[in-house]
């Protein structure tokens, strides 16, 4: 939480409608996303109850487990889900383009990639476990399952793992994607509820955000977005329906002849009553997720969105190829090196994602201006032809002076860059308080005295001006131009060195044995 976002929340509360915290879209919204709304049985580790899934808002597919503790039904559910998700995902691997790779070679990259959208983080967590409980299964052996089940498990495991990568968009949680762009007039905790969050962002005509959110919080008016169901629904509706279904199934089994016919009809009725009830819980959320996608799509995409999506496409292409070559399912747990590597990667990705958003979006950059890591203002003086004696030769080193009202905390010597001229470095020469009118007292601003009024920042520029001693027009900011400089860098930092897996020190458990799933994995209980 930053001061700017906090202020936006306060403004949202007062205006009774959500306020923007981004001026451009920072997530990729696919041309053909697939929405998945799962429900789970309360109290169980990972017992699917029902799901709506599909890539067309008008025609969701409904899958229901009518006896949630029955193992066969669970695998039937997984197979049904696989019949929709696996062809959708793998379909994207069919069309690729060649892109330049290292040493003048080229490699394939899928033209597009799948995007699975869930209502919230809890939905992603459920999907991760669903992947975990299905990816080791086998179509043969003592506990055969539909061949699509382990494939679904591997894809879900891949996608949920990817969803932890900052800026990756192969799998999205609607609440998180929305929160990246809007501040509601409620708390972050309450924003985890998709219905109330959307109520603040997009209230019905004539209704305020707070009033709309109150409706979003009422489980009767707005069933929870899952995967946990409303306890009231469980006790009053679901439990009797599940019992009725079990009873009619049992009765039908012991009948024969004409009464068997009646029995089957009763089973069908019980089943469709269950399906209706679950649809009633799922459909509102289904619609909210699609509405969230619509709202996001209306925002113009930030500059870096396409580049991040390329990285997603690369990851997808790589995993599709790995699976095609018969790759093993993901291990149960990361080895020590893999975990450390991952942690390091995540930190870098987080920093880089934040910086990219700041470069793409003045409202995000404002957060850094607030903390003194960036400043914006007007160029008040420029010496574009300044030449300095370098070690070997004379080099072009223009100076500019920027007047800013921001609290500048960068120290002389720091190198900053501007989103408008990313190839150009600017070294801070001095920071002086702009005291006007009267004689100028160059007072060095001390770090920490934040919002102490206007400052003049002198910068020395290098790079981005060609090789000559005369700067091409436009390459040096001119007096009067608005500029913004920050210490952020949007490029990936170099990868930290890690020992290869086989040299894992004993303090980290020694070299891991490569994970080979065994029969026990395939036969693991799912009850």
């Amino acid at each position: 939480m930053s001061t700017l976002t906090a202020l936006a929340r306060a403004q949202a509360r007062m205006a009774d409608v959500a306020q923007r915290v981004a001026t451009v879209r920072h997530v990729h919204i696919g041309t053909r996303p697939m929405v998945l709304v799962p429900l789970a049985l309360a109290g169980e580790a990972n017992a699917p109850l029902a799901a709506l899934v599909g890539d067309d808002p008008a025609t969701p597919r409904l899958f229901v487990v009518s006896q949630p503790r029955n193992r066969d039904e669970r695998f039937a559910f997984a197979a049904e889900l696989a019949s929709v998700i696996v062809p959708y995902v793998e379909g994207f691997a069919a069309t690729t383009e060649q892109v330049p790779a290292e040493r003048g070679e080229t490699r394939a990259r899928s033209l597009d990639a799948p995007q699975l959208v869930l209502p919230n983080r809890a939905g992603i967590a459920f999907t991760r476990l669903l992947g975990r409980s299905t990816r080791f299964r086998r179509p043969d052996g003592d506990h055969p399952v539909d061949p699509a089940v382990p494939v679904l498990g591997r894809w879900l495991s891949f996608l949920t793992e990817r969803a932890e990568h900052p800026g990756s968009c192969l799998m999205l949680a609607a609440t998180e994607a929305l929160s990246l762009h809007w501040a509601s007039g409620q708390s972050e905790l309450e924003d985890l509820n998709l219905a109330t969050l959307l109520a603040w962002i997009d209230p019905p005509p004539g209704v305020g955000g707070a009033a709309a959110a109150a409706v979003g919080e009422d489980p009767l008016a707005s069933p929870p977005a899952g995967p946990v169901t409303d306890p009231g629904f469980d006790n009053d509706v679901l439990a009797p329906l599940i019992d009725a279904f079990a009873r009619t199934t049992e009765a039908a089994r012991s009948e024969s002849g004409a009464s068997a016919e009646l029995g089957h009809a009763a089973v069908r009725r019980a089943r469709s009553a269950l399906e209706r009830a679950l649809t009633g819980q799922l459909l509102p959320t289904w619609q909210l997720v699609w509405r969230a996608l619509e709202l996001l799509r209306e925002l113009p995409a930030g500059d870096h969105v396409a580049r991040r999506w390329e990285a997603d496409r690369d990851a997808f292409t790589g995993y599709a190829a790995y699976l095609r070559d018969g790759g093993l399912p993901q291990p149960r747990r990361d080895g020590a090196v893999a975990a450390a590597r991952r942690l390091n990667w995540l930190e870098r990705a987080q920093a880089s994602f934040a910086a990219q958003r700041a470069f793409d979006d003045p409202l995000v950059m404002a957060e850094y201006r607030m903390t003194g890591e960036a400043f914006a203002g007007q160029v008040v003086a420029a010496d574009p032809g300044r030449v300095s004696e370098g070690a070997k030769r004379r080099v072009l080193r223009p100076w500019i002076t920027v007047a800013t009202a921001d609290p500048v905390l960068v120290m002389p010597g720091t190198v900053v860059t501007s989103p408008a001229r990313r190839g150009q470095k600017a070294q801070v020469i001095s920071v002086t308080a702009a005291v006007a009118p009267g004689p100028v007292h160059p007072v060095m601003l001390e770090a920490g005295n934040g919002a102490s009024g206007p400052a003049l920042v002198a910068l020395e520029l290098s790079g981005g001006m060609g090789r000559g001693l005369v700067a091409p027009p436009g390459s040096v900011p001119e007096p009067g131009e608005r500029v913004c400089y920050s210490t952020l860098t949007a490029d990936y930092l170099p990868i930290a060195e890690f020992p290869p897996p086989e040299q894992t020190p004993w303090t980290h458990g020694g070299p891991p044995a490569p994970y080979e799933p065994d029969d026990e994995d395939a036969a693991e209980d799912w009850s």
Partner: protein, 375 residues
């Protein structure tokens, strides 16, 4: 009856004090700074009923499925004389248990009266304490007590205490899964604090009988299902930190007398129930009485206190209702409207608000400028 007890009884009204259990006592630690909560809890007010009667029912419910699952798992762990449990204990406590006896303290010779059962628990536990006998003993459903706000609370006995040689270990059975060796950290944290309640109660029991309270280990055994199946696994959980937190809050409640003194006598939250159990007291009257006790609402209350919807409504104009972090980032300014007026420069900062005002003005300027720049 002491003055304080009389005052608390009056606040609670005609309803009997609500019995505590490990969960409600653990919940006492959730928002320790809240006076309203401290008084309601010390008085044993039925908060779910009060919340509903004041027009803001608590949003908590428990699914039948979750309860059934919890019971089924517990039954499985305890089946065949706790065979599964003993297997885990041998494993986890790293000690040989040639054989273990099992004592169910659920009812005592047909009596289910709480004092009788508590006396029996006390007798059995203290007799075996320090006996040094090699064979372990499992005490199922021991009925423990804990002093909460000067009142003795009986703890619903859903635990097992295991004695081996000189040590007692609290065993907590939970039905959330540990998958690939990892369980939901929030659930583990909740289980840890609930177990700490039992550790504390066991220690008090020993201390009252002149035994060494440290005979009760501060490591508890958490038992939960492994992966996606029903097979139990055990883990040792160090609850020293939770014990400290819990003790601090319980001693605060013990000082409730000082707290109650601060408010005018005669405040009553009586629901005026008619003979069918329907509250007849006007919601507005209840609200007026409740508001006398200052609350300290933050969104975390939504998960831990039955009064949350009431307090949220009352706090809706505050920055804290948007989250503690929001309030901090806004320079600690209490009301949303003040913060915004300071940000716009409309309001003159009062004493101690100058830094906050400067911060807010910068934030407002940066927001406005950046939104304008983006068009």
């Amino acid at each position: 009856m002491t003055d304080t007890e009389a005052r608390l009884d009056q606040i609670r009204g005609a309803m009997p004090p609500r019995p505590h259990n490990a969960r409600t006592i653990a919940a006492l630690t959730a928002n320790p700074g809240c006076v309203r909560r401290a008084i309601l809890d010390a008085a044993g007010v039925d908060k779910p009923r009060l919340a509903a009667a004041s027009g803001f029912p608590a949003p908590f419910g428990q699914s039948r499925f979750a309860i059934a699952r919890g019971n089924a798992f517990e039954a499985l762990v305890k089946a065949d004389g706790c065979a599964e449990l003993l297997r885990l204990l041998r494993d986890k406590l790293g000690l040989p248990i040639p054989e273990a006896s099992y004592a169910d303290l659920e009812d005592v010779a047909g009596s289910t009266s709480l004092p009788v059962r508590h006396a029996r628990t006390r007798q059995l536990v203290t007799r075996t304490a320090g006996s040094g006998a090699d064979a372990g003993t499992l005490f199922d459903h021991p009925l423990l007590t804990l002093e909460v706000g000067g009142r003795l609370a009986y703890l619903e006995p859903d635990l097992i205490a295991f004695r081996l040689r000189d040590r007692f270990h609290v065993v907590e059975i939970k039905s959330f899964a540990a998958i690939d060796g990892q369980a939901d950290p929030d659930k583990v944290a909740a289980a840890a604090i609930q177990s700490a309640v039992y550790v504390l109660a066991m220690r008090e029991l020993l201390a009252r009988s002149g035994r060494d309270p440290d005979l009760v280990a501060d490591e508890v055994v958490l038992v939960c299902p492994k992966d996606f199946a029903n097979r139990p696994v055990g883990a040792l959980l160090d609850v020293r930190k939770q014990l400290t937190v819990l003790q601090r809050q319980l001693s605060r409640l013990a000082l409730i007398a000082d707290l109650v003194e601060l408010y005018p006598p005669g405040i009553s939250l009586d629901l005026a129930m008619d003979e069918t159990g329907v509250p007849r007291r006007a919601a507005s009257e209840l609200a007026a009485a409740l508001e006398i006790f200052p609350a300290r609402y933050s969104p975390e209350c939504l998960a831990s206190c039955e009064m949350c919807r009431f307090c949220r409504h009352e706090a809706r104009a505050t920055t804290a209702a948007l989250g503690r972090a929001v309030r901090e980032e806004l320079g600690g300014v209490e009301y949303v409207d003040t913060a915004l007026r300071l940000a716009d420069g409309e309001a003159k900062p009062g004493g101690g608000q100058h830094d906050a005002a400067a911060l807010l003005r910068t934030a407002a300027r940066l927001r406005a400028e950046s939104l304008a720049a983006a068009g």
